[in-house]
Subunit: 294 residues, 4 copies
């Protein structure tokens, strides 16, 4: 045949499952968006239209819901829930060679100390991507939507200038970004909630406190702070839009504007991406294939 089937995978995306723990007092809950992607012996579904080896995406959804009950303890943390799901697909469905389970977890706060009332936080979404392939298991944790801003202690100057460079250097500017980060663990068991909390605190603390000479510089600072704070993390990758705040020219109105009034622009934005890794040691995962897990 002149054509061949290349890389292929499939699954159910965005299963919105909420698990309430009513046997505790007060109640607890987790709020997840779960996506499953399977690889394996599925070429016939494409080429022959033969579904004999296809686990339906509907069954993937059912599995997520059933496991929220059967594996209620695992479901308390996105990492452990993703692990039991991914292991199940690889171990119990013969034709599956690899399962990737991604979870977005939406955090809720208890409302006013009431046992059963909750308010959804909107300051970040917690994420995880677990990939199981045979005995290889990688756990990546992450967050997105964490928007931070500093009103000073940020400079940007001394940059390369070409024919198309018109930007003026500055010794004091607003720096703001919406942090998206993913970090690879060197283990598959740890205290996931404490680890997440340590990483998130390291990121916001470092962003707020470290003097910045560029958003690139700040990513490096934040990455180091994360690796200092979270011993099971071997690598962290950031993707951060530079959310530009432009000083508005008020001189036509006879007004000074000493960095007080800014236009928060939508587009375009700088997009800065970087990863920070441990140089060596047990936290360094050389086997990690970022193409699958990131």
């Amino acid at each position: 045949m002149a054509y061949v089937l290349g890389h292929h995978q499939y699954g159910k995306a965005e299963v919105r499952v909420v698990r309430v723990y009513r046997d505790t007092d007060p109640h607890e809950l987790v709020d997840y968006n779960v996506s499953v992607a399977l690889q394996g012996d599925f070429a016939d579904a494409h080429i022959e239209g033969d579904q004999a080896k296809i686990l339906t995406t509907d069954a993937c959804k059912n599995t997520v819901n059933a496991f929220a009950k059967e594996h209620g303890d695992a479901a308390r943390q996105p990492e452990t829930f993703a692990l039991v799901l991914a292991r199940h697909f690889v171990r119990d469905v013969p034709q599956v060679s690899q399962a990737r389970v991604q979870i977005e977890a939406y955090p809720w706060d208890r409302a006013h100390g009431t046992p059963h009332g909750f308010v959804r936080r909107g300051d970040h979404v917690r994420t995880t991507t677990v990939t199981v392939r045979g005995d290889d298991e990688t756990v990546v944790s992450g967050l997105r939507g964490l928007t931070v801003l500093k009103t000073t202690d940020s400079e940007f100057h001394g940059f390369y200038e070409d024919r198309y460079t018109t930007l003026k250097p500055t010794n004091d500017r607003i720096m703001a970004t919406e942090i998206q980060a993913q970090w690879l663990h060197s283990v598959t068991e740890t205290g996931w909630e404490a680890s997440f909390s340590a990483v998130k605190t390291a990121i916001t603390h470092s962003f707020a406190n470290a003097y910045s000479y560029a958003l690139q510089h700040t990513l490096w600072e934040m990455g180091q702070a994360v690796l200092d704070a979270a011993p099971t993390v071997s690598e962290i990758r950031f993707s951060c839009p530079n959310k530009h705040h432009f000083v508005v020219d008020l001189s036509p109105f006879g007004l000074e504007n000493p960095n007080e009034v800014f236009h928060a622009d939508d587009r375009p934005y700088g997009l800065i991406e970087a990863s920070v890794l441990r140089a060596e040691g047990p936290g360094r995962s050389d086997a990690f294939d970022p193409g699958q897990a990131w």
Copy 2:
């Protein structure tokens, strides 16, 4: 002429202005999205193509930015900022008979006690709509995006049944909604931040604590709590989607599901709207035209 020009207004929408107060230690900031809509003697712009009376929308934008500097104190609260802007357009631009200024305010928390670092909260957006027409001034405050959920203390039964009714009554369900509310003040001066905080607390506290026989019932409870808590509020209007959480049927897998595993559905959703007003007294604004300000 066979045709006439009906209702018309115009202005600049979504001016994204960030005001930093650098003369304070620590810095403070407000983050606004300002929209201006003007009514007045503007028919010629439509019918004759004659712009002689049109204040450009670009000038509206400039005014927002300039006022963030010139009226820096007013800009600290969305209600006072909207008032100075709306009064300016009506008083200083002769052909403007009415100005409506709407502001969305995005709240930020200080990061880890640092003086200049901030993390954007995402749990709600604070809103205001100020309308000035001659000497009439109405101030409406509001919020949107406040998502709340209770895991119990919510029933729904005893409802009307017609040919198309298949819903089963329930004595225990998840109730969740994303609250959008707007409330009319009987005054144009008060402590706006304290007032907003009192209203928001009344809403979440009432939602979490009041036993519910329907989302309609809860809106009434929340409305009363707001009027109890905020003496300058004469009316509050809610628009609340009933974000359905369906109990997943796990019986095909031999599993019980005693209200533990839910599917959080996107669409359709119930949409419940109601206003609660003071029956009489100084807080009752009969002059209020909801068509303009809501």
Copy 3:
């Protein structure tokens, strides 16, 4: 009691129903998003928590789905489908005094002349809002998302200048907008598809051909064209963002830019709203309450 219940209504929003006509050859389909809002004797649901008169929003959804089968011919057009639904709720459910049914219709094109294959158009969404209250019935049709642009034949100058005006007048600019329009019919029966098509054509034809001295001017031109083209339309209301395209200053790079390279800005945008009505005659609906139907 110190507080009273004000305006209230409820219903099911965003029922996503697709109706396929398989008894025709080739197949036909409509793709709707239906929202129902009911008013009536519903105060007890709020105040007493008594649901005895509440038609559940779930039943509203069921009714939409069942009517797509039972009233299959009516479902071919959003206006007729909304009418049968709204009439049903008012006539068959005693406690309902008013029903408002809103439909968004997503248009599809047949693919390559195949009988059963379709490609979704994305150039506009067709809308309708039908309100039935006793014997009063109003039908409003509309569209949104229709984005149009003209590269010339648009001026903007001679405008009012105040202290905050810095805009330069122009005799040649790009004008672009995303048209949202709603029009009120003086009848409740007509050829809805032909009428919609005539209005949409009048809008785009007028936008493209009429010389413009402001977006306000263009709304007036488009409104007249619609009333000329659609005899059952008594009023049309536009809400149109002025999607600014700014000429990029290329002089720092030694380049001319004679209106060739533009930055398409997101925010802020001008927002121009206007309605055009028949001055008199059978097409003029004085009974129309825009607060409900618009």
Copy 4:
């Protein structure tokens, strides 16, 4: 040092440039969203906070705008515009080793044969990703947002069943998806518009005409059709959500529903991904690194 900087790149994202060709009669226009990502000798910007080698993202934006004038002919097609931009960054900025330029192109139709009026199509977005690294140049074209549906000629049965499988097999269902596809060219020069048109037609024609035993099956059919139709394409990758349309159970209302009334569900959805490649020959690009260009 204990930590090292891993993969990093940066640039300006989402430069919204509109280029009008006014020297032609009638006018022509292209409407682009351009994103630039640069790799190279940029570690010092992170680690030392030294920006001496950083071409500012502002200059990236300026370059896009200036090139829209300087390379007006290249700007007529997204592929050629991305190529001149990416080549410039690699060849003219010494510290840049690799440039990736991504463009989203929004198509417009001429309105009613007018020379200067346009209506934006919304049925798809055309995309391209060009990567230049030294002498290696890869051109990937694509589209997204192309939503297609067939009302019959789609089956799904004979699938694998495990403990969590409850789906019923079907011999006739609606199949719908929103196609996102990217295809790699074996050349860097061709008639890009004709090539895009041939691929898009092959996709929709194949979707509409090929009998389907699964969405997987249809991806394979569409992939082959594309390779048949576009000789310069060596590989095409699809990512297609299975937009489920569920037959509504109308039996509680005493109604049959022979595949006529469907609920169009939002989430979850199946997500099917596959690539189809030439087995051998000049169209086969073995050097292609999908990690960069896809």
